[in-house]
C-alpha cells in the first residue's frame, strides 16, 4: 500500500469501490455540509468534496473535508489548478494531510467564465497532469515541486479525472496514459450516459493495459427530469447525453421522471459492472444526495466493505 487511504484498501482488495459527492455551501454554514454528508454516511467509501465547482465561490474544499472527517466519514479532497499556484496547492495538501485527509482528486477546474467571478484571474500555474506528478512526487520522493525536501511528506492516494466523451475521442486513451504516467492511482470519469462510447474507450484502455495500472471509477449522475437531461446535453461542455436517454425520460409523466432517472442509473451501474477494468463507481447525485442510499441498495452495492 502506498497510503492509509480506505479507498486504496478497497480498490486493492478487488472489491468495487464507491464514492459520492458533496458540494460545499455558498456561505459559512457548516451544518449544510454536515446535513449533506450525513445522507451519505455508511453508504459510500469516500465523499468527494468539490473545490469551487462551476467556478462559483463556496466554502473551501479543505474546510468542508475537515467537517466531514470529524463526522467519521472519509472525505476526498478535490483541488483545481484554476485558483491556486503551486505554493498554495502544496501548502493545502500538507495541511489536509495534517488533518488526516489522505485521498484527493487533481483537476484543472471549470474556467472562471462559467462562474460568478468571470472577472477573476485564472491561475493555471500547472495543469492537471503536472498536478498529479507534483502530488505523487511529494508522496514518493518526499520532495516539493521546487525540489526541496519535505519534513513529513503527505501520503496522498492520488486521483485524476478522465472524460471519455470530450473531443477528439481518438486521443482520450492517450490522455489517460499521460495521467497514468504522471502517477495517478485512480480515475473518476465524467458522467456516463453513452455506455457504448464508454465501452469503446475502455476497450482502448484495456488494449494498453492501463486498467491494470490505474483504478477506473465510472462516473454516474442520476437524471432528475427530462429538463436536466436536455440541459446536460446542450449546456454542459464535454457531456454526451444520447437522444435515447432524453426520449426515455420524456416518455414518462413528469412526476415519474425522477423515478425513471433512478431506474436508468441503476441499470447503467449494472451494465458497467460487467465492463472489464471498471473498479468502482463515482455517484454524483447533484443536490440529490438523499437518493444515494437507494441507488446503492438497488444496484447491489451494499453493504460497503469494512477495513
Amino acid at each position: 500500500m502506498k497510503t492509509d487511504s480506505i479507498l486504496e484498501k478497497i480498490l486493492a482488495s478487488g472489491q468495487l469501490a464507491v464514492t459520492s459527492e458533496c458540494g460545499p455551501p455558498r456561505g459559512a454554514l457548516p451544518d449544510k455540509v454536515r446535513e449533506k454528508a450525513q445522507l451519505l454516511k455508511g453508504y459510500v467509501d469516500a465523499v468527494n468534496v468539490t473545490d469551487n465547482q462551476t467556478a462559483m465561490v463556496r466554502m473551501s474544499s479543505l474546510a468542508a473535508c475537515i467537517l466531514i472527517k470529524q463526522m467519521g466519514i472519509t472525505p476526498l479532497l478535490q483541488m483545481v489548478t484554476r485558483d491556486r499556484n503551486r505554493l498554495a496547492m502544496q501548502s493545502d495538501i500538507i495541511g489536509a494531510y495534517s488533518h488526516g485527509i489522505d485521498t484527493m482528486l487533481c483537476l484543472s477546474g471549470d474556467h472562471p467564465s462559467f462562474g460568478d467571478h468571470p472577472m477573476a484571474a485564472n491561475v493555471h500555474d500547472i495543469d492537471s497532469v503536472q498536478f498529479v506528478e507534483m502530488v505523487t512526487t511529494m508522496r514518493d520522493q518526499g520532495k516539493f515541486q521546487g525540489g526541496e525536501k519535505i519534513d513529513g511528506p503527505p501520503k496522498m492516494f492520488v486521483g485524476a479525472a478522465a472524460n471519455p466523451f470530450a473531443d477528439p475521442f481518438e486521443l482520450r486513451v492517450s490522455r489517460l496514459a499521460k495521467k497514468v504516467k504522471a502517477g495517478a492511482d485512480f480515475i473518476q470519469t465524467q458522467c456516463i450516459y453513452n455506455i457504448d462510447k464508454f465501452e469503446k474507450w475502455m476497450e482502448g484502455v484495456r488494449e494498453r493495459g492501463l486498467h491494470e495500472k490505474v483504478y477506473i471509477m465510472a462516473g454516474i449522475t442520476p437524471m432528475k427530469s427530462v429538463g436536466m437531461a436536455k440541459y446536460m446535453k446542450n449546456k454542459v461542455p464535454g457531456m454526451d447525453v444520447p437522444d435515447d436517454v432524453i426520449k426515455r425520460l420524456a416518455g414518462v409523466p413528469k412526476e415519474k421522471q425522477a423515478e425513471e432517472g433512478i431506474k436508468m442509473c441503476v441499470e447503467d451501474i449494472q451494465r458497467l459492472k460487467e465492463v472489464k477494468g471498471v473498479s468502482g463507481f463515482h455517484i454524483m447525485a447533484i443536490e440529490w444526495e438523499q437518493k444515494v442510499p437507494e441507488i446503492m441498495e438497488r444496484a447491489g452495492l451494499l453493504p460497503r466493505p469494512q477495513f
Binding site: 489548478t81 484543472s108 471549470d110 474556467h111 495543469d127 506528478e133 470530450a166 473531443d167 464535454g238
Partner: protein, 222 residues
C-alpha cells in the same frame, strides 16, 4: 505583431477635456498593421475629437504626427519640436510607445488612445487572434507549432481538457481548441508519439513570474 483597439470615444473625450492643445501621436508599426493607431487612424480620431469639442463650443487644437516607431527613443526624440507647443500627448501607439513618450518627456501628460491587446496574427481581413504570450521559453517545438500557453484558455501543457467539443474551446465556440489543433498537427507530421511525452511544469521565471524582463545583448549594448 502587437495588436490594439481604439478606446471608446467617450473615454478619449474625457481624458482630453482638461486640455487645450493636444499632440495626437500615431505609430507606423504594429498598430498601423492592425488599423488601430497608424497615420490613417490618427487623422480620423483627430477629426472626431475636433468635431466633438466644436459641438460643445470648446474647440481644441490637435497636432497630428505619426512616428516610425514609438517604442524607439530615436524616433520619440522627433517629438521635441512639438512637445512644448502642446498641453498633453494622446498616443495611439501600444503601451510600449506610450511609456517611451512618458519616459522622455517627463513634464508632459501622456494618455493612451488604444487598449493594447495581445501578440497575434491576422486570421483574415479585419480579424486578429492571439498567438503568443511571450512566456520566454518557447514550447512550440513540442506542440506542433501551436501554442498552448497563449491559445488554450487554461494554458494546459498536457491537454486537451474535458471541455473540448467539436474542435472548439468550452469557453467560446468562436475559439479553436488549441489541443485539437496540436493533435491534428502532430498527426499530420506523423508525430503522435510525441503527444504522450508529458510536458513538465513550466518555469514561469522566464515569463512574468520573474518580474519585469529585460534582454541585454552584450555584443550590441553600448
Amino acid at each position: 505583431m502587437i495588436t490594439a483597439e481604439q478606446k471608446p470615444m467617450k473615454e478619449l473625450v474625457e481624458c482630453v477635456r482638461p486640455f487645450q492643445r493636444i499632440l495626437l501621436a500615431g505609430c507606423n508599426e504594429c498598430v498601423t498593421v492592425c488599423a488601430a493607431g497608424g497615420r490613417k487612424e490618427v487623422g480620423i480620431l483627430a477629426s472626431a475629437l475636433k468635431l466633438q469639442f466644436q459641438a460643445e463650443g470648446k474647440p481644441i487644437e490637435i497636432t497630428e504626427i505619426t512616428l516610425e516607431r514609438q517604442c524607439d527613443p530615436e524616433y520619440v526624440e522627433e517629438l521635441v519640436a512639438q512637445i512644448d507647443k502642446v498641453d498633453a500627448v494622446l498616443s495611439m501607439a501600444c503601451g510600449c510607445g506610450v511609456q517611451e513618450v512618458a519616459r522622455r518627456y517627463t513634464d508632459k501628460p501622456v494618455f493612451p488612445a488604444v487598449n493594447t491587446k495581445f501578440m497575434g496574427a491576422s486570421e483574415r481581413q479585419g480579424v486578429w487572434a492571439e498567438r503568443c504570450q511571450g512566456c520566454g521559453d518557447c514550447v512550440l517545438g513540442l506542440t506542433g507549432g501551436v501554442c498552448p500557453v497563449a491559445r488554450c484558455s487554461k494554458q494546459i501543457l498536457n491537454g486537451p481538457c474535458g471541455g473540448s467539443t467539436n474542435g472548439k474551446c468550452e469557453v467560446s465556440s468562436d475559439t479553436d481548441c488549441a489541443w485539437q489543433l496540436i493533435w491534428d498537427r502532430l498527426k499530420a507530421l506523423g508525430k503522435l508519439d510525441q503527444y504522450e511525452e508529458n510536458i513538465p511544469a513550466k518555469d514561469w521565471r522566464s515569463g512574468r513570474g520573474g518580474g519585469p524582463r529585460k534582454i541585454v545583448r552584450e555584443d550590441l549594448a553600448s
